[in-house]
Amino acid sequence: MKYIDYMQLNPLERFWYKFKEFFKNLPATLKAFFCAVGKAIKNFALKFAKGVKDFAVGFAQGDIITKLSYFIMGLGNATRGQVIKGIIFFTIEVAYIAFMVFFGGAYLSQFFTLEAATHYETISGGRGGASQKLVYDTYSNQILIYGILAIMATIAFVAVYLASTKSARKCEEIKKAGKKPATFIEEIKELLDSKFHITLLSVPVILICVFVLLPLIFMILMAFTNYDDKNYFSFQWVGFANFAEIFSGSTTGGASMGYTFGNIVLWTLIWAIAATFSNYILGMVVALMINKKGIKLKKLWRTLFVMTIAVPQFVTLLLVSQMIGSSPDSPLNLIISMFTGAPSQFDVQTPLYDGWIARAVVIIINIWIGIPYTILMTTGILMNIPEDLYESARIDGAGPVKSFTKITLPYMLFVTTPHLITTFIGNVNNFNVIYLLTGGGPKTNDYKYGAGKTDLLITLLYKLSVDQQKYGLGAAIGILVFIVCATLSLITFNMTKSAKDEEAFS
């Protein structure tokens, strides 16, 4: 397809085209990817070899102080005028060794089995005399998390160590050339100028490593263990067993995980499509009505809708979930009985109709929540559609419906497709609406692990890891969700120009 043909497609067709291309090009992409990886490995090996050479040659050719500073970090710096830098290097070395000896090393050695260390303690007393009691010295999750921490610390330390030897060699060279190495103050000044990125990024990167990366690696590794309520204290590596269970059809306890997973994936897709498009189209219609020429009090109408999203979501959702409760006094039943004249006891979470009532209610309430966002989003763009387009359509005899489907919708799709896809991904992961409104119910015996008919993958993940304590299985589902969402995001991201023309404005 030529570029000009591509430009004539509407955004949905474009997305579909990109989507097809993505899979068509997948073999080539993969090949390119592995080639790139191979090249990267080669480059890395070359660089590594050069580094090793520098490292070794520097050691062989250096004087005694440089040689010594390969073992006592910072010695070279300290004796050659960079006292504070030397002290910092030395402190890091001491801290790392202390960390490994007293703490990290023990966990690291158990990392490959994860087996918790236990011993039996004899408890005397009772009528039967002494009895044996199993006592855990360490827990498997501790081993896992501290092991990762120790590995991360080691990588960081190796980097610092290499930097320190390099710095020691450089100091020697500078000294030999008869110059003075940069003072501490000068280096600090450099951190505000040519090395400003280090100053800026170091704190956020450390925080992200500890509070995002570490938990993330922990959870990814957890997907390959049998960590659950039965193996709470001591668990092992199990390879891909969790992924196998997700797709298995075997029925234990009346329901199979494969069936549950398949149905929940299906419902997640239905939900995401219905929620995204209903909000998008209906929101646009309302926005058009508000912005129509001749409609007064525009600001009042807009504020009326926006009020519902300005109130914190947990308030509105908890409120609505109480309002659609099953008791005869809930507002929903009061309104129904106002129309029918008889007291009503309608339960949204009825198991009848295969849970479709609850599903429909969730989608409808999501319209209530979502339309204001669309109004906010689209108002500005809708105003940008040239008025003469509508005028000429009207002269040609098009009604409001026709001009909406032929002018507004294509134009809006053209501009907001990336936003639409982000919303779609947001809806796949829409935890709040489902969890607070129905809690995933109505529950059904067809599904395993207490999952219900309105459960999305993300609420299933929550239920598995928080309520059911099937941590390994939950993490495996999380990884699958990630793969799907990441693929979609990457395709979208490649579609937007802003990713490619990063410097278009500069």
């Binding site: 100028d193 040519s194 400003f196 990125h197 800026l200 990024l201 956020p204 925080l207 992200i208 509070f211 995002v212 938990p215 922990f218 959870m219 309302v286 009505m289 129509k292 001749g294 109408w301 009326l304 809708f305 009020m307 519902t308 999203i309 300005a310 109130v311 914190p312 947990f314 308030v315 908890l318 409120l319 609505v320 979930s321 006094d329 809930s330 009061l334 209530w368 339309i371 906010l376 907001t416 936003h419 982000t422 992961n429 935890f431 969890y435 993300i458 890891s465 928080v466 941590y471 993490a475 999380g478 990884i479 990630f482 969402c485 990441a486 937007t496 120009k497 802003s498 404005f505 500069s506």
Partner: protein, 289 residues
């Protein structure tokens, strides 16, 4: 067929007015219900029953008892204080780290820039839920579980990853400005402090407001980290607790209603104020597509 164009438009507009009014009523109905019922008290002086058989409270049922009780008899004020404290600290940390990361990625050129941007994007695509359990363990090992400090760390430590929107905005500020300043002898820090900061003000305000509102709305992470340490709950967790079965049975639902109104007032005001920034933030980087 109605011939007169004016009449037709008048009819269409009337129809739209009616439709908008009906929709507006539907949209605002739950909020009106919330506010009216938060003022509903038992005329006899006791605890009002959880349920009523009429949709809106009658005139003699209205009073301020729920609000007085909310501040006098419950832990609401403490929760409010907790949340305010957390929100202020988070707001400072998050804004600073987002700004700093976005600036470094947008303005500075260094060797590890591209790889770091990619790693950051990939990390942002994992569902946040996955890390919750691990976060709890990490906090527990640090002895920070069930504390406000732990919660603050959870909310703000990873905020540097949300650099995309800010970076998109900074990318639009012309590089010529930096260059001019550099020629005049400014170092990178001065460029950041004296040129970029003032120019990025609207986006910084957006960032400040979103990170301030965040802690008021989260309830999942609080539930996991605070467990049953009621003293350190935030408002959202506390209000959520009051909608649980046993609390509703003990008449706490009225406090949920009044508490929800009290929390909503400042948040709603902030949101209405930041509307325009919100639109800018959401559409930044996307509209160019």
């Amino acid at each position: 067929m109605i011939k007169s164009y004016k009449l037709r438009r008048g009819l269409a507009n009337t129809f739209i007015y009616i439709l908008l009014a009906v929709l507006g009523l539907i949209w605002i109905f739950p909020l009106v219900w919330l506010v009216l019922h938060s003022f509903r008290v038992d005329p006899a002086g006791g605890v009002p029953a959880a349920a009523v058989d009429h949709l809106f409270p009658t005139l003699e049922e209205l009073g301020f008892d729920n609000y007085v009780g909310l501040f006098k008899d419950t832990m609401f004020l403490r929760w409010f204080g907790n949340t305010f404290f957390i929100a202020v600290i988070c707001c400072i940390i998050s804004t600073l780290s987002v700004l700093v990361v976005a600036y470094a990625f947008s303005r500075l050129r260094f060797k590890s820039r591209k790889p770091l941007i990619n790693v950051g994007m990939i990390m942002g695509m994992f569902p946040g839920f996955m890390t919750m359990i691990a976060l709890y363990y990490i906090l527990k090992m640090m002895g920070l579980d069930q504390t406000l400090l732990g919660l603050i760390l959870c909310y703000s430590a990873g905020s540097g990853l949300g650099y995309l929107v800010m970076k998109g905005y900074l990318d639009t500020i012309p590089h010529a400005l930096d260059e001019a300043a550099t020629i005049d002898g400014a170092n990178q820090f001065q460029v950041f402090y004296k040129i970029i900061l003032p120019m990025a003000k609207p986006m910084i305000i957006y960032q400040i407001l979103t990170s301030f509102i965040g802690p008021w709305c989260d309830f999942i992470l609080v539930r996991l980290i605070m467990q049953d340490n009621v003293d350190n709950y935030t408002v959202s967790r506390g209000l959520w607790m009051w909608t649980e079965q046993e609390y509703v049975a003990n008449g706490y639902f009225r406090y949920f209603l009044s508490g929800a109104v009290v929390v909503s007032i400042p948040i709603t005001a902030l949101f209405l104020y930041m509307q325009k920034y919100y639109v800018e933030g959401v559409t930044a980087g996307g509209v160019k597509g």
